[in-house]
Symmetry: C2
Subunit: 311 residues, 2 copies
């Protein structure tokens, strides 16, 4: 009998808890590192309300920041928000083994680099989650829809670790798209996130419909998408012009929608400003590409943060 694959989820919020459940269902050993929900999960496990059925589970080990792990995992899955000042390399360091594969299920662009630099000898898998899920109370996650992962080795390719993990996710019941160019997929997702998320914050929590129906709003979104595309192209990720129309039309077909950054802002939580926008602007500046619209939004968000003492 082969040893079960061991998984450690660092940052078991809605996303981490859900994908942990999927891997648990696939027969893995699933441990978690928790902060605020530690006591509840230790006692009662993680409850997941999902259209996929009952996914509730008791992690094999429930750790807290600062604990000493019994062993290092095959895969460390990192699901924390990417915030300025949060040192993710320090966060995972105590849990990383020599052969641990580091898996990121996180939003944004150029978010792998600091980890690749900190752990140059460990394989890294980068994932994008297409899912609607939220933590309704400590230890309880509501999975509303979707769940697909787009996954590839970082910076590119699909290595054996990536294939193995993808099979486990599929066994657990979700769809996985493997990609040779996961960074390109991040750029593709940012075509939407980079304009819509920060604009919704600047507009004090506006939904997609409000943004697009404001006089000049759709035009502003289009020109911001175009700026992101120009930066992506300079990085070697060419995207078709038609994606602009597709993003606009796709959004118009959805009901009015408040994205996760808008919800974070409304609820007084920190926003993933740099992962979604600041890093795109920084890359543009390295290439000398003018991105006046993106930059205006970024600087105004920084002014707010400064006013609120957060920058």
């Amino acid at each position: 009998m082969t040893k079960r694959t061991s998984i450690l989820i660092v940052g078991a919020g809605a996303i981490g808890s859900f994908y942990g459940a999927i891997l648990k269902r696939a027969g893995c050993q699933v441990d978690t590192v928790l902060r605020s929900d530690f006591e509840v999960v230790k006692e009662k496990g993680i409850c997941i309300i999902s259209p996929l059925g009952d996914l509730s589970y008791q992690p094999d080990h429930v750790y807290r920041d600062g604990d000493t792990p019994e062993s290092t995992p095959d895969y460390l899955i990192l699901c924390v928000k990417v915030l300025p000042g949060a040192n993710r390399a320090e966060l995972v360091k105590p849990w990383m083994g020599q052969n641990t594969c580091l898996v990121l299920i996180e939003n944004g662009l150029d978010i792998e680099r600091e980890l690749a630099e900190a752990f140059p000898d460990n394989p890294i898998i980068s994932c994008l989650a297409f899912i609607a899920a939220s933590r309704s109370e400590p230890g309880v996650v509501e999975h509303k829809a979707h769940g697909k992962l787009v996954m590839g080795s970082y910076p590119k390719g699909i290595d054996g670790n990536c294939q193995t993990l993808s099979v486990l996710f599929v066994d657990g019941g979700i769809k996985v798209d493997l990609t040779e160019a996961v960074v390109g997929e991040r750029w593709r997702k940012c075509l939407w996130n980079t304009p819509f998320n920060p604009l919704s914050v600047i507009a004090n929590g506006a939904d997609t419909r409000t943004i697009l129906d404001t006089e000049g709003g759709e035009e502003l979104i289009r020109v911001m998408i175009r700026e992101v595309m120009t930066v992506a192209a300079a990085e070697g990720y060419l995207m078709d012009e038609s994606l602009i129309d597709q993003n606009i039309e796709g959004t118009r077909k959805m009901p009015a929608y408040k994205n996760s950054m808008a919800l974070d802002y409304i609820n007084g939580r920190p926003i993933e400003r740099d992962a979604v926008l600041g890093n795109v602007v920084a890359i543009a500046q390295r290439h000398g590409i003018p991105i006046p619209h993106l930059n205006t939004v970024l600087v105004t968000l920084k002014m707010r943060a400064k006013l609120e003492g957060r920058d």
Copy 2:
């Protein structure tokens, strides 16, 4: 004995009340049209706390919107905020005589046009007030500093009405700069107001120091000033590049300062968005001049207004 010059102040807030006091002191008949402060002023007059001395006065007539005037004034001084949906031509119409000279002491750019179109046969004087004053309670104005008016006939020149009125203001104790090109002076003032005022609102009421000290903030202000200059130049008002440095350095020398639009925003009052920014963007678009930074700020302000049901 010649008839006293008659003045009617429409919109006697801090600015209107103050300049009414100056003209009262110069010996004019000064009437006011009031809304919320009508009862208080009718009974107690207007109290003005000022470094210039006791400027408190009882207007010769205190009118209310809808009243029938006893006579039409020589000068109607309009001091209301320039807000979308506020029809200023309708507001002054009942009080305008055939020979009444219409005087605007208001902020913004291209704010004379709708009045010039409504009253093509009346002379119009356009003024910029450089003053720190606020209404501390009904009928009470605190004049803190300054008070200079820059004044000229609209659209240009200095006619006899303008000369006469300027002499009265000087007699009353303030400094007046007469200008042959008052629209150019508006552009010059907008070099500061058009970037700083809306940015302070977008940044939730940030002061000048916060705006300039944010990473990328000074650079954003500079590029927005440059955009305003380019539009001004297309309208025939060439301004020297050195004004960019002058505006930045002048602002850095001041203590941290919340401009009037920031205060309006913080206090939940409507903001003069179009007078200060929207009209500049509209003129740029007529000329086909790209103003990406100004436009991004304008559209995001519109998104907010839409979200709040104000647009």
